[in-house]
Amino acid sequence: MVEDGEIVTLIGSNGAGKSTTLRAVSGIIRPRAGQVTFRGKSIDRLPPHKIVQLGMSHVPEGRGIFHRMTVHENLLLGAYQRNDDLSGDLDRVYGLFPRLKERLGQPGGTLSGGEQQMLAIGRALMARPTLLLLDEPSMGLSPLLVETIFATIAQIRQQGSTVLLVEQNALMALEIADRAYVLESGVITLQGTGAELANNDAVRRSYLGEE
């Protein structure tokens, strides 16, 4: 359950089903049981491109950059469903990630991991999503870059998007999240506000690395 304008995070260990949950939400796979509803509409029978049309953007695990296409083309692909003027949106993405502007003509595959993550998030924003799904945006990034990415996520929410964040870096995720769910073997075992879960003993032991 994600409300308008919040950041909700889904935490859990490896193999708990976090990415699978996101893939089911965006329509890449079909849920075997349960329902996915978006703004009151059941979407679990819809193909992914129809779900994008409804206003959901998914930054997949591994970032999903098109390596043979340029940074600019990757950004344009993010806005595939739109037919209006994109210059304002491109400027907004360059504002969030000035690095991308320097690399516009370069193939996506030549970017560093951090730049690819910026491109993946920027590309998702090109669709002007009402809901942004982020899968492990901190994966493989230096601590400094992780800070930048999380600051950007907070900024994106301020600009009016809702964010569903899947993270292994539970500490960072709980810090910026309004609410959080803990997923274990595909089942939600705990839920609460970000602060509540950050102070929960079980969560601290299992996910925040405390004895």
Binding site: P47, V52, E61, F66, L77, Y80
Partner: protein, 319 residues
């Protein structure tokens, strides 16, 4: 060491022009193989029959417009209409094949659609040969104006100029669609990753259908050019050019658009100029019938030393 050519400059110029002529046809057909492979990792073995159907549609238009008696400005009109009809017929055939023989097998093991493709290929060529033509060939009306361009040792007939020119124009148009339009961007994205493309809001099925359509348009035009140049057409005509074009696509690196074009011309030149060059070696005498031996030996050699072709990317595992 000096090589002494026993043959004249005119002879080599002829071989060059012949190589570029067949190369143009191979390149046009090869584009359909490489594009479909790009999005589906499927060798569309029925693509030679898509080319054949286009050739027959063009033949129908030319005959209906007056056949051998067509003259003057009507020739240009007839040729344009023949190409449009051929493209449309090829496209219809390719889309029907995709819908009936490939899409239901989209998630089956990769061998299944391949067998299905071979089945469609045999079905279509025999349907035309045994069902409609009862074994006889049809002959394209020879309406193209005579005349030739002479440039030093080079003699190019008007038909060859037309053939090479329209091939280049078609390939240029295709390149523009793939590189410069939103539709082309979508196709390239699907070729890199179907899942990630769908997350961009791209309708993957539609992109695949458009890919088949674009390849079929190229094959349809190639069918008309082939008929104008070689005259005789029949149901089985697509087999050899199809296999050759497939070879060209593999030579260039299957999945690569520029690779298919370069592979097509390369194969065309190898069959003619390459074969004659071998004939320059004392004691070697390879008549024209040996061109297929030369072409496919080349394929084997390329596959041994460069398995991904000249422009092929290494196959990467997807996350």
């Amino acid at each position: 060491m000096t090589v002494i050519f026993l043959t004249s400059a005119e002879f080599w110029a002829d071989q060059l022009v012949n190589g570029l002529t067949t190369g143009s046809i191979y390149a046009l057909i090869a584009l359909g193989y490489t594009m479909v492979y790009g999005v589906l990792q499927l060798i569309n073995f029925a693509h030679g029959e898509v080319f054949m159907i286009g050739s027959f549609a063009g033949y129908g238009v030319l005959v209906a417009m007056g056949g051998d008696d067509t003259s003057g400005a009507m020739i240009a009109l007839a040729l344009v209409l023949a190409m449009i009809a051929a493209s449309a017929a090829s496209m219809g055939t390719a889309l029907a094949i995709e819908r009936i023989a490939y899409r239901p097998l989209r998630n089956a093991p990769r061998l299944a659609p391949l067998i299905s493709a071979i089945g469609v290929s045999v079905f279509l060529s025999h349907l035309v040969d045994d069902g409609f033509l009862t074994g006889r060939s049809k002959y394209y009306p020879s309406i193209f104006p005579d005349g030739a361009l002479e440039l030093g040792p080079l003699t190019i007939s008007a038909l060859q100029i037309f053939l090479m020119g329209s091939s280049l124009a078609m390939m240029g148009g295709l390149w523009w669609v793939i590189q410069r339009t939103k539709l082309g961007r979508g196709i390239r994205a699907v070729a890199e990753s179907r899942d990630n493309a769908s997350l961009m809001g791209i309708d993957v099925n539609r992109a695949i259908v458009v890919t088949f359509a674009l390849g079929a348009i190229m094959a349809g035009v190639a069918g008309v050019l082939y008929g104008l140049f070689y005259s005789a057409i029949r149901g089985s005509m697509g087999f050899i050019p199809g296999v050759k074009a497939f070879t060209a696509a593999v030579l260039g690196g299957i999945g690569s658009v520029q690779g298919a074009v370069i592979g097509g011309y390369f194969l065309g030149l190898t069959e003619t100029v390459g074969r004659e060059l071998l004939n320059e070696i004392p004691g070697v005498s390879l008549p024209n019938q040996w061109k297929d031996v030369v072409a496919f030996s080349l394929l084997v050699l390329v596959l041994i030393f460069r398995p991904n072709g000249i422009f092929g990317q290494k196959e990467t595992k997807r996350a």
